[in-house]
């Protein structure tokens, strides 16, 4: 099997963006019927590599081989036409178009006279949705879909044509267990039919579950390509990071202080209702639940970017003016939103300005901004979070996904908050950085910060939280102390099966 000609391969590929050398002399072979993992830290060049495979980027040198023959893709359409399906790291949907149109754009089945066969489109989408086991209306517009649903549409898109090669860049980052499992079974089936699969994930257990081989990148350089059988997670981490990894969930014991954030009977019609909970100083409280349970919406209503229909939020004893993020910030609240590209960062702005954005009033007097202070604040946090960047004046758009996430964290930690709400803080972050973020959250909590952490990563929830709050369909269904929190107890509550623990 391994002697056959690779379906798709890269040979000696180099790719630079200005001064950044994203790929240096990288090679990779994808075989039919094999799932191949791509591992590496944030910014290692994984996404760049698949973009080179997909015809988005032209390599500066080196070649792409299809069935052993060199090819040049002039654009994504060329790659698609030879049967390469790609799920990109960031969902790339048309918000105004229906889900069905999103899936079939440019490839709609046609009737005579090259007219689109709308009926066939709908039927095929329904088939795909059934195959993925999800229930999404093909006619609803993509706007307003949760990130998870967006990712599902992306997956459906990739499945919609019989791809010889399926490339997935962190498709599971936004998915919960059930969806991930469903995805894996579909991928398994495709692989059995002889498709080659390239899979990227920062969740190592997924790599071991799904793939047979792994290629590791470090700083844009090829490190190794090898079978996964016989490899341990620690081996893989060592390849990626170049050193041994510290503990992933470095939970510190802290003294829990007085109540810092108190939410009472918060309701937003149609999204969540009657949500009450407290977070105390020194505590990390996790907010768990299935995708779409309304966790992010609660966080946004607490922070004031969404207006709650009823209920109140107190920070340090004072009631927040509803619908005002500024008031929330003044009271010491910080929110790291889940959608970093739209809400977390100003992509076309430099790193330093992004970090400075949350503290403009502290960067000078009388409404002025001192550049030295701005830069100082940014470089301070860049060091503390081990940000990988060229210059602080670079746009954040050129950073890798994980490094972008660090900038969002930096921007909020720099406000020196009393309560920090983090929505999926480690989504898309590599294991090394993940540990760093966890250590950071832990030590911040130890210093008396109150942390509310929304996460779909169950091990993270269990590893980090002092208490776990669980939401189900817009309601707070359980509050589970650390000692009783197990995968089973949390999932049971999240799915609405026999609420364990006392109802909140």
């Amino acid at each position: 099997m391994s002697q056959t000609v690779p379906v798709l391969a890269l040979k000696g590929v180099n790719k630079s963006f200005g001064a950044v050398r994203a790929l240096r002399d990288v090679s990779l072979e994808l075989l039919a019927g094999e799932a191949h993992a791509l591992a590496g830290e944030n910014g290692a060049g994984k996404s760049t590599l698949i973009k080179a495979l997909a015809g988005v980027h032209r390599p500066d040198s080196g070649e792409v081989l299809l069935d052993g023959r060199p090819v040049v893709f002039h654009g994504p359409a060329d790659a698609r036409d030879v049967g390469i399906a790609v799920i990109y790291q960031e969902p790339t949907l048309f918000p105004d178009l229906s889900i069905a149109e999103n899936i079939f754009m440019g490839r709609q089945p046609r009737r005579p006279l090259r007219r689109i066969d709308h009926k066939a489109v709908r039927a095929q989408v329904a088939g795909l949705m059934a195959r993925l086991g999800v229930d999404l209306d093909p006619d609803r517009p993509a706007r307003g879909l949760s990130i998870a649903d967006q990712q599902i549409v992306e997956i459906a898109k990739a499945l919609s044509f019989d791809a010889r090669v399926l490339i997935m860049d962190e498709p599971t980052a936004a998915l919960t267990g059930s969806e991930t499992a469903r995805l894996f079974s579909v991928v398994e089936a495709l692989r059995a039919e002889g498709a080659a699969v390239l899979f990227i994930s920062h969740r190592l257990e997924e790599i071991f579950e799904l793939c047979q081989r792994v290629t590791t990148l470090r700083d844009g350089r090829w490190v190794a390509s090898e079978p996964l059988a016989g490899l341990t997670q620690d081996d893989l981490v060592r390849r990626m990071v170049g050193r041994d990894l510290e503990e992933l969930y470095p939970k510190q014991r802290t003294r829990v202080g007085e109540t810092a954030l108190s939410v009472r009977r918060l309701t937003r019609e149609g999204v969540f209702r009657d949500v009450s909970f407290d977070v105390r100083r020194g505590e990390i409280v996790a907010l768990a639940g299935l995708v779409g349970a309304g966790r992010s919406e609660v966080a946004q209503a607490v922070f004031g970017v969404d207006r709650a229909d009823a209920g109140e939020v107190r920070v340090g004893g004072t009631v927040l003016r509803p619908g005002s993020p500024t008031a929330a910030m003044d009271a010491g609240l910080a929110l790291v939103p889940e959608d970093r590209r739209q809400r977390g960062l100003v992509m076309e702005m430099s790193i330093e300005r992004n970090i400075g954005l949350t503290g403009l009033d502290r960067l000078g007097r009388a409404g002025m901004v001192k550049r030295a202070l701005e830069r100082g604040r940014a470089s301070d946090w860049a060091v503390r979070l081990r940000l990988k960047y060229g210059s602080l004046g670079d746009h954040v758009a050129v950073l890798s996904g994980g490094n972008q996430q660090k900038v969002v964290l930096a921007k909020w930690l720099a406000t020196d908050p009393a309560v920090l709400i983090v929505d999926e803080p480690t989504r898309g972050i590599d294991v090394g950085t993940k540990a760093e973020v966890h250590r950071l959250l832990s030590s911040l909590a130890a210093d008396g910060l109150a942390v509310l952490m929304i996460s779909s990563d169950l091990p993270e929830v269990l590893g980090m939280a002092d208490r776990v709050l669980v939401m189900h369909e817009g309601r707070m269904v359980a509050e589970i102390p650390r000692a009783e929190a197990t995968e089973e107890s949390v999932m049971a509550a999240a799915t609405g099966l026999g609420a364990k623990g006392r109802a909140a």
């Binding site: 790609v86 990109y88 754009m105 709609q108 517009p141 991930t180 499992a181 999204v271 369909e473 995968e487």
Partner: protein, 344 residues
């Protein structure tokens, strides 16, 4: 390590009602404009019955015909998240070119229309190439083209005027004649409108225009030939504007260099009133055409109602604002209702 649990599916009937609500939201703009139009016409008709006599209806249709054409062309560009501010200048240039070409000759109608299309298409090609291949912001480029084409037109015309007397009768007949009592011009506009609408709905390239406007980045990754499509949109808009220029000559007979001077904002207004989002991706040419019809009808109605012409601009502006505000408010309300109803 992952836990396999199925997400409970929502009850199918809430889903369906949610869907029809979604549809309603998206159709709301066309309906509300059509409603406003009907109200306006009825009100004016009650106040002055002659508004809807034979001549009146004919005038309404004739007045709207050219603006509708331009709005159709413009929508196609706006749908791709671009804009063409040069339409007014293109109409001016094309009308003058056609006038100059036919003046004192007996060229046929088809030749004149073809010339208009070619002149306009050429302008569209230049704007389109700059926007798509030069990858520069459309607003700036087409504002530049507005000036350039206008300047060329003035330079060429040197104050010359083409008079109706010099224009061959068949061309003038196109502007004033009719079949079965329906004047040619509105017929032509309606045909172009229907054809464009059909194309946008049922052809891949049509859908791709929406895709580009909705998210250019996603369109690129989906393999949509963005440059070609955008160029095509401009070419179409240019050709339609040029065509409108030829019709202008047919309708008014007299042309000078600055015909349709300043129309770009009216056309954009019509498109926006008609529900084509200025940021691209949504809207239909039907809506844009209704918008154009509404704008011209407001003008005609005010004249018939003997509203002092000083008031005309102010009222037109206020109505425009009212139309888009009401639409927006209805939209927001319905979205909110949708959210509450589809609560999972």
């Amino acid at each position: 390590m992952t836990v396999t649990v199925d997400k409970p599916a929502p009850a199918p009937d809430t889903e369906r009602s949610a869907r029809s609500l979604v549809d309603a939201v998206f159709r709301a703009r066309e309906i509300s404009i059509a409603g406003a139009l009907v109200l306006l016409v009825l009100f004016t008709w009650v106040a002055e019955p002659r508004f809807l006599n034979d001549q009146g209806v004919k005038d309404l249709a004739l007045n709207a015909a050219i603006l509708v054409l331009l709005a159709v062309g413009q929508s196609v560009v706006v749908i791709t998240r671009n804009i063409d501010l040069s339409v007014g200048s293109v109409v001016g240039l094309s009308a003058f070119a056609c006038g100059k070409f036919v003046s004192g000759t007996d060229h046929g109608v088809l030749t004149v229309l073809l010339l208009g299309v070619v002149v306009g298409g050429a302008c569209g090609l230049v704007s389109g190439s700059l926007v798509s291949f030069g990858r520069v912001p459309a607003l700036v480029v087409t504002l530049g083209m507005l000036y350039i084409i206008q300047g060329l037109d003035y330079w060429w015309a040197q104050g010359e005027q083409i008079n109706a007397a010099d224009v061959p009768q068949p061309v003038l007949d196109l502007g004033s004649g009719s079949v079965l009592g329906i004047p040619y011009l509105p017929l032509i506009s309606a045909t172009v409108l229907a054809g464009t609408a059909y194309f946008l709905r049922t052809y891949r390239s049509g859908r791709e225009l929406y895709a580009i406007g909705s998210s250019p980045e996603a369109a690129r990754l989906a393999g949509v030939p963005i440059r070609r499509r955008v160029l095509g949109a401009y070419l179409f808009s240019g050709a339609v504007s040029g065509f409108a220029g030829a019709l202008w000559l047919a309708r008014f007979g007299t042309v000078v260099a600055d015909n349709a001077h300043g129309w770009e904002l009216t056309v954009v207004s019509a498109v926006v009133v008609g529900g084509v989002a200025i940021v691209g991706g949504t809207g239909t040419v039907w809506g844009a055409a209704l918008g154009a019809l509404l704008l011209t009808t407001i003008g005609s109605a005010l004249a018939v109602l003997k509203v002092d012409s000083f008031w005309a601009d102010a009222i037109a502006g206020a109505l425009l604002l009212a139309a888009i505000s009401v639409d927006r408010i209805v939209n927001v309300r319905m979205t909110r209702a949708l959210r509450k109803r589809s609560a999972r």
